[in-house]
Symmetry: C2
Subunit: 574 residues, 2 copies
């Protein structure tokens, strides 16, 4: 017999499905992953009209070029994305909340505004955007994957903010003219590289249904890869934007803390400030990600969220970076990159290593300097992050699961059962250790000025986001490749590079793992299963270098596509 939390979860799961109009329901059950690996492209297209395909497969920038000029109406664009999001959810379980009706009503208002004023409401006029299920939207529930949050405000049945509060970012997106149509799936606690919870169950990778979509902004990654939204916002405290972006062939940024307003969003271990979770946009192009970040900054979030920092979008950095890029296309290399093939603890799988080689070769061919990145131990960075994730000893997670009595998923990297929390002196000591590590890393970065030949330190670091392309369920053994960036609070952008290919990405039979984690990761590689999985890398810059990193990521991504023959002008720099 089902327990009460199982019933509550099932009821909620069905209620979400029921919000999908009948004519958008897929009737026969999907074939298993063994028969149907990839549901992107032609598979999902079969459910859509040619016009819907045209709209939803237009890049973020291409859409706003049409919606802000009146060429496309917000209603038509919104309808197309709602339809495609509905299909996407039925293919991979990527949505927590559906509010298509509200989205269409908003789109109608936007169209009316355009007709009346002959101009758009803002730079995102009519752009359908998805949100990770941490953001509060008026009239919509936020469960964050917890059964105990169903019918409550963050677990509290009596809190009057339920259905009323909108997160600051949501307010700003509306002011920019964006249309919000759905909220996407997360692992309960947010502390997992897979997306699983007791409500929506497991979100799969649309390019390869043997694999996870990543996490914790996993629903975002899956939905955008399926083009069910034109861009979206996730959060990242250990890789949660970059992992799903990389696993799904997308661009995504983890900005430094304080650029995008977090105020009024639900979170895990809220009030923990030793290592802050940050919000970052994901999209299918670097220019799309740039548009979303730049648009949010145009709203002066530092006047509305006390934790935001007054750093507007700095066009001068963007232009200076474009200048450096243009100079580099002449005779000699004007840019210098660090590249990290291996952090010394866990060796990445063959598809990742190949992707790193592809990028290094390309950069060198383009005339840039590439130096090996051998920074202060990333084990220290990962350990600091891990210690901070556990400051409360798991009390928050335990409390939230306890609301309904539901079972905690084994993928969650939180102490279970809880252990005693750290005290003020222990936390202060951790903050000091972190500061000292940051200083070492900073000095290492500064010191590269002596070896780049450009007169500057390196312009960015190319590194894996994870030791693998996507991940098989229950096999995310090592988050060190993403979490070190969170410890540093640096800016990092994912770049889609290639796909796993069983013909070339063969197992290295001669490799002897150097520790247990390394062994577990090594043994989890199966060329057959991984075949076709997107492979992304990250480009990391220093703190608050979002303008530079997005510009460089766009450049590298374009050059990669140009080199592989699939370059299209729509994805080029904004």
């Amino acid at each position: 017999m089902a327990t009460s939390w199982e019933i509550a979860a099932k009821t909620k799961r069905e209620a979400v499905l029921d919000l999908i109009p009948k004519e958008w329901r897929i009737q026969p059950p999907l074939p298993p992953a063994g028969e149907l690996r990839d549901v992107t492209g032609s598979y999902i297209q079969q459910f859509l009209s040619p016009r819907e395909i045209e709209i939803t497969e237009t890049d973020t920038i291409g859409i706003v070029q049409r919606t802000t000029t009146g060429e496309w109406t917000a209603v038509e664009v919104t309808k197309a994305f709602c339809h495609r999001a509905a299909i996407a959810h039925q293919l991979v379980n990527c949505l927590h909340e559906i509010f298509f009706e509200a989205a269409l009503a908003d789109a109608k208002r936007l169209d009316a505004y355009f007709v009346e004023h002959k101009r758009p409401t803002g730079p995102l006029h009519g752009l359908p955007i998805s949100l990770k299920d941490q953001f509060h939207v008026k009239g919509v529930e936020t469960t964050m994957g917890y059964v105990g949050w169903i019918g409550t405000f963050e677990g509290d049945k009596t809190d009057p903010r339920r259905f009323e509060l909108e997160s600051e970012l949501v307010r700003e997106l509306r002011a920019l003219g964006a249309v919000l149509h759905c909220k996407t799936s997360v692992p309960a606690t947010l502390m997992s590289g897979e997306t699983i919870n007791n409500i929506i169950e497991y979100t799969w990778n649309p390019k390869n249904r043997h694999l996870s979509c990543g996490g914790s902004s996993g629903g975002e990654g899956a939905l955008i890869a399926l083009r069910g939204s034109a861009g979206g916002f996730g959060t990242d405290i250990g890789g949660s934007v970059r992992i799903p972006a990389a696993f799904n062939g997308l661009y995504g940024i983890r900005p430094s803390a304080g650029r995008i307003p977090y105020l009024g969003a639900a979170n895990s271990m809220d009030g923990q400030i030793s290592l802050r979770s940050v919000i970052g946009p994901l999209a299918s192009s670097a220019s799309g990600v740039k548009l979303l970040l730049k648009s949010v900054l145009s709203q002066h979030p530092w006047l509305y969220d006390p934790l935001c920092v007054e750093i507007p979008w700095r066009s001068e950095i963007e232009e200076h970076t474009l200048d450096l890029i243009q100079k580099s296309s002449s005779s000699q290399g004007q840019l210098a990159f660090g590249i990290m093939y291996d952090d010394g603890f866990v060796k990445p799988h063959p598809p990742i290593t190949r992707a790193l080689q592809v990028v290094a070769t390309l950069l060198q061919k383009l005339g840039h300097k590439v130096i090996e990145w051998k920074p202060p131990s990333h084990a220290t960075a990962a350990e600091l992050a891990s210690t901070i994730y556990g400051l409360d000893g798991g009390a928050d997670a335990s409390k939230q699961f306890g609301l309904s009595g539901e079972t905690m998923m084994p993928q969650v990297i939180i102490p279970n059962p809880p252990v005693p929390p750290k005290n003020a002196m222990e936390i202060a000591a951790i903050n000091i250790a972190k500061r000292e590590y940051l200083k070492l890393y900073m000095d290492y970065w500064n010191d590269t000025a002596a070896s780049t030949g450009t007169g500057r330190p390196i312009d960015g670091v190319i590194a894996p986001v994870a030791p693998h392309a996507a991940v098989q369920p229950m096999k995310y053994f090592y988050v060190g490749y993403s979490a070190f960036v969170n410890t540093l609070d640096y800016s990092s952008v994912t770049i889609p590079v290639t796909e796993a290919d069983k013909a070339v990405d063969v197992v290295d039979g001669n490799y002897t793992p150097i520790n247990d984690t390394d062994r577990a990761v090594y043994e989890s590689y199966d060329p057959e299963i991984y075949h076709g999985a997107p492979v992304g890398l990250q480009l990391m810059g220093r703190r608050f270098q979002e303008e530079k990193m997005l510009t460089l990521a766009g450049y590298i991504g374009d050059e990669l596509r140009r080199a592989s023959g699939s370059w299209s002008p729509i994805s080029s720099q904004l």
Copy 2:
């Protein structure tokens, strides 16, 4: 019989005095405060040559105009300030460390550089600067007022950084060409509005030796008021820059956290990040303070201190503010200020109330809008700050006093004996409560746009720094007027306004105190004792508004002096 810590303290105290050359020693003991209240001006001048007086009484800007052009040598300037600092210390006990010989050697090197290169080393070339005794200077001890730190590095006898480490700010000041000649007194723990410790004992207010110089950057306030340095750096976690600046007739800024590098400086409760101590400069003019801040920012501290934020000196904000000021001198008011006469918990003494009225009247006369500031409860802000100061339950203070067994001074606002520290969940809850308060304050500020008539929210808030001008020993009952700014992390600059005057600042016999603290403060006012004490106020702007606040503070200060007939062009805007 003296205890061992008393002997160690006395030995250190005498060693500091012994570093003053014989010819600079004052022989007869000073008369008591009752006979000799004010040791500034003609009193201290009697010990100096006319040339030394000319140099040391030149404003910060005036000095660098001469030292960076070769008109004055660094050696002559440094000697004059060393002499005056030596006298100052003998008058009010304001120094912890004296290193005149090193300063002169540095000055010689600067002069040689100028001769060889025909240009200064940097914008602070040859400027003698004092540092609160939290900064590490090579070859110099740091006791921070703890007997247990004598002969150690921050209490650790074996730490190799002793005499070796230089704080990041010190490195930058040297790169800018500044000359460092002494470190100034602090209350042990830094958590006091008076400056007292068992080594140097009590630092007095040079304008009125009945009163404290303030704290915790009290030595800075006293020394700069006596012109023993041309500017200096203190720190502020509850008012510790602004209190001594206001009590000594100086300008001083509490910038938002992350503008000036704190890396490598000693601190209390290091690693506590819920409410960060910040470094701020003090000087006798707003332009001097501006020069110091702007110069430090020119060193790109965010590339060397991981907790600094990449916000360079923004000349465009400075220029925009000057524009607003210039427009206001035409017909109608272009600026709007909030004014806080009373925070609703403790009524300021008559000299403070009069100063507020003087400024309000002046601003209105200049055509500006002045509105009463009735923000979200400052009691909440003060309580948050106080809770955060006690997160470790007094463990750090207890440990440092315990090193030598010395007695804790009753003025220190730290739990004694220690109480249990807060845990991770309690700290997170405090961080959330603080964020919520910040949001309320931010919204209140935004909402003033509706009532200023300028189309903008208010440009700044004029408020007391303390309920009194300076303070009598053991009578600092309420830090709410300064600490709320630390809770907010706003930018705040002190402005000298007037002096306490027993003829006009009479006791309000009709006032009935509204609570015990209010009563204690009310009863501590004695027109006779306070007569002649400097009265300063603070001008507070939003977070990271240092450029605007310093520009406005310079303007208001100049207008005040112009109105009182003592305006001189040297103190005008840089």
